[in-house]
Point group: C2
């Protein structure tokens, strides 16, 4: 009899459930649910980089997508042996003593500070700086050493400090905090004691400075020195963390009922989307898997024993077991990738939003048709026009730091810039400059891994951008001056989660074996074009100059 | 019996004729003609900053507008006593030995190099650099000293050198070259000997390095050192130059017929639009008149005797009589002003042009209605949205050098840049940053005049932007931290030309007397707002930092 596992992938805009055949990795059915509150822009404020998500978006989405894949596939629920949740991260939220998200209590149901503080929220810049300043002078281990040496405002502790300091009501009511992937898993196994619950190694190691060498989370003294009371929160968090080949528990009856699954099936320890995606794409030593969407996550694994103690400078962490148990998982990434192009799409869509869609010459059906068509096609059309511009033309130079810089050397206070703008710089010229910028940003990450002695033999792309944008992928191959392979799966993170679930359910003995059977095939390869590679190498020098200049402007402002 | 004069103002996009009552300055009738070939983008290539105009656009426009004002006004032609032409500049074109524009000969009728090389054409960057390099080492007078010390690629000699070097056929066929204002005047008086024709002092002094102290144009040796043969062109140009209170001759019978005027009436010596505009706006000592349109021209006059010999650094020249005969006319300007905003309008209009106006859900009449409405309203709507943004918000920083920098310190190779861009930077935020940029650029010019000892007691704005954009004018008052008065005339350059014509026709003894009677009243004053002025003063520091950084990027590229 065939068996199946479920991967549940909570992305920035939507959650996706995929039901996977554990024997072949075939994706039996998939369903997507776009978060309705998020889609309306609720609880967010772009000018101050505040991005929050209501957990109801996630719970409703989980139920809708799992029910949908079960229905579509016709697979009997007895054949589904386990599931695993991956989410964005670091995306923490405050919970009560009973493990209830504050935003699900009446008092805080509309308070953005009680919700998931999404990965790309940058309200905690000052707090990240405080953490870095303290870490530099701390008389004890450098707790930031295994997260690249710089703690980011995108991460766990900075966000907790920021909310606690700016919204004392939430700070007071928060008995503890959980990463999004832990919360979903915790709810699925029916809750229980928060401290003994199996927290994600991936989240703990990459975002909360958890490391075995100093006994878990940073010391109480360090945390108290950061913010009074933060040390006592440490006691209410966790001591151990766990890899996603382990089961966090059986699916509880309540959620079994809501999802239409059998109670008691294995719920694997939660993890982050990029790390699960790397597993789905068939990562192995010396392979760089890039999850390319709104941002990028760049994942590697290494079995080099020195990486357990030698810190790699300026990346987002090296964590034993964060991808494949027993190997060091390395993470880096760009804070904005597709987001940079989407931002520009939003800029040029301003006249559409404000002058076209509500124009009196249009009737209702035309408005809807135009909006639907343009919302879907704008970036694609810009991309097509940009692709037609010869690289010899005058193309502006841009930076990809529209949402700060994650790697190398996290600095979320940095901002984007453009130079070499002339009257001839059209929208497609700027779009092309932005495509170059995100690829130059990628190259800086690849260069840093190699400078730090982490060998890269192959690059695999997954995610929406990898599968859809030949302009970006070809440019990336040119800029990196090496081939890039694209995984065939549309759902690599969910597939990776299903692989973890298959191990947690006991179907396979380990992640490597499961991934070899269930992992995605490669569907395409982009090869570098020598002439374009040479031109872009020259242009990259200007990118680096502009970067240095923009960074000095940030410092001065 | 009432008498009238005509001002003919050839701008970048259109020509305008205004019929003015010489007693009161009342604008009896006005007509505008948009250049049809120019409107189609013919002969231009924005990516390489090539901007050329076919003289047929001008000749057709002259006929259409003069005929229109005569018809509209019902003024008998016997009452029209004179006319004067002002044009953009430096906008030279090659002519045959007979004074025929090469572009009006069969061989060259479609060759952009045989046409008017418009002021904003920047193809002659290398040639301007060669002129500056030679001037620095020349064993003789510094011929650039009275044009600010830096010769610009926007000017006469650089453009002639560039065309001659890159299109030898045109170089060979060009017996001589004329500024646009001289050509139009030359044709109106019926042609004749090119060398004894009364050339414009304004054009000669500000753009061709003509100065009395070295006997007119730069020496033959200097010109030959620049480019073989350029010295002999000097012999075919002119020795003397003339102010616009003089008559260049009587209107010739042919053009009298074409325009519907009496032959023999005074045709004043031609001039540039900004200088005529300053006269129309009532310029006097210590007043800065800013002509604010696609670019700015900043005009002052001074009767300080030291300015006849002491050079003012980094402006576009100081020329005896270029505005008011007997006084030194000073010119500075920004290469892009409204053009910077129009450029951004074009960037955000990309989806309109490429996806909306040709969308199949629209019928023909809707397309036209949408296009017409949006083309007229886009910048205004962006402006309105930008005006609503509090200055405390995060607003990007931009440079106004989208078409290079004219003043202070001409450097047409500079380009624009933007920094401090984040995901929250919307189209109106960027628009506001660009408004700030053009005002900061204005402040740099005002500062330079004052640093060089040229006192400024009042600022008067004329031109489309001055009369239409309260956002820009208020921001400018805030940035300059002084009041700005706006002249009421919609046609200050044409009015100024009509004032010159009234003197050339003998109706008034001098320009000062004529301007006192005929000049435009002030219609409005913008006063600086202290709080905004303080905020913008801080922001201007970032503009200056970004400027220094962008300039270093240009140097390195």
């Amino acid at each position: 009899m065939k068996t199946y596992t479920l991967g549940l992938d909570f992305g920035t805009d939507s959650v996706r459930a995929v039901l996977v055949d554990t024997d072949t990795g075939t994706e039996q059915a998939a369903a997507v649910f776009h978060y309705p509150r998020w889609a309306k822009g609720l609880y967010c404020h772009a000018p101050s980089n505040r991005y929050r998500q209501h957990p109801l978006d996630h719970l409703e989405g989980m139920e809708a997508t799992v029910r949908s894949v079960m229905e579509q596939s016709g697979v009997p629920k007895a054949s589904v042996k386990g599931l695993c949740v991956d989410t964005t991260g670091s995306s923490p939220l405050p919970v009560t003593r009973e493990g209830t998200p504050l935003a699900l209590t009446e008092t805080f149901s509309e308070n953005p500070n009680a919700m998931v503080v999404l990965w790309k929220d940058h309200t905690a810049l000052a707090e990240a700086e405080a953490i870095n300043n303290l870490a530099r002078v701390w008389d004890g281990p450098d707790f930031t050493q295994f997260v690249g040496g710089i703690y980011s405002s995108e991460w766990f502790w900075a966000k907790i400090m920021h909310i606690t300091a700016t919204d004392p009501d939430v700070g007071e009511a928060a008995w503890s905090w959980m990463e999004h992937c832990d919360l979903m898993t915790y709810l699925l196994v029916g809750g229980g004691d928060l401290q003994s619950f199996k927290h994600s190694r991936c989240a703990a190691g990459h975002k909360a400075m958890w490391h075995e060498s100093w006994g878990g989370l940073p010391s109480k003294a360090f945390l108290d020195a950061l913010h009074p009371g933060l040390g006592s929160l440490r006691d209410r968090l966790y001591t151990h963390s766990h890899t996603s080949d382990e089961s966090a528990g059986g699916l509880c009856p309540e959620w079994a009922g809501r999802l239409g699954l059998n109670p008691g099936i294995a719920v694997a320890v939660g993890t982050f989307d990029a790390h699960a995606g790397a597993v789905g794409a068939g990562i192995g030593p010396h392979a760089l898997v890039r999850v390319m969407g709104t941002s990028t996550c760049d994942i590697m694994v290494s079995d080099a024993p020195e990486l357990a103690t030698k810190a790699v400078r300026g990346i987002c962490g090296q964590v034993n077991g964060s991808v494949i148990p027993g190997k060091i998982g390395l993470e880096a990434g760009q804070s904005a990738f597709g987001d940079l192009l989407a931002w520009f799409g939003g800029v040029v869509a301003w006249p559409l939003e404000h002058l076209v869609y509500n124009h009196p010459v249009l009737d209702e059906s035309q408005r809807l048709a135009l909006r639907e068509d343009l919302e879907h096609n704008l970036l694609e059309e810009l991309s097509r026009a940009a692709e037609a511009i010869p690289l010899e033309e005058a193309i502006p130079i841009a930076l990809d730091w529209i949402n700060g810089r994650r790697s190398p050397d996290a600095h979320q206070g940095l901002q984007s810039a453009m130079a070499c703008l002339s009257l001839g710089s059209s929208a497609p010229h700027i779009f092309l400059a932005l495509v170059h910028a995100i690829c130059f940003g990628s190259k800086k990450i690849v260069d840093r891994f190699e400078e730090e002695g982490v060998r890269i033999d192959q690059v695999i792309g997954i995610g929406g951008v990898a599968r859809k944008s030949s302009l970006i992928m070809q440019t990336l191959a040119d800029v990196l001056d090496r081939p890039i392979r694209v995984a065939a799966s549309d759902h690599a993170p969910a597939l990776g989660a299903a692989i973890y679930a298959a191990v947690a359910a006991g179907i396979y003995p380990d992640v490597g074996t499961a991934a070899a059977r269930m992992g995605s095939p490669i569907e395409k390869q982009y090869s570098p074009r020598p002439k374009a590679a040479a031109t872009l190498k020259d242009r990259m020098k200007h990118y680096e100059q502009l970067g240095a200049l923009a960074a000095s402007l940030t410092q001065n402002s």
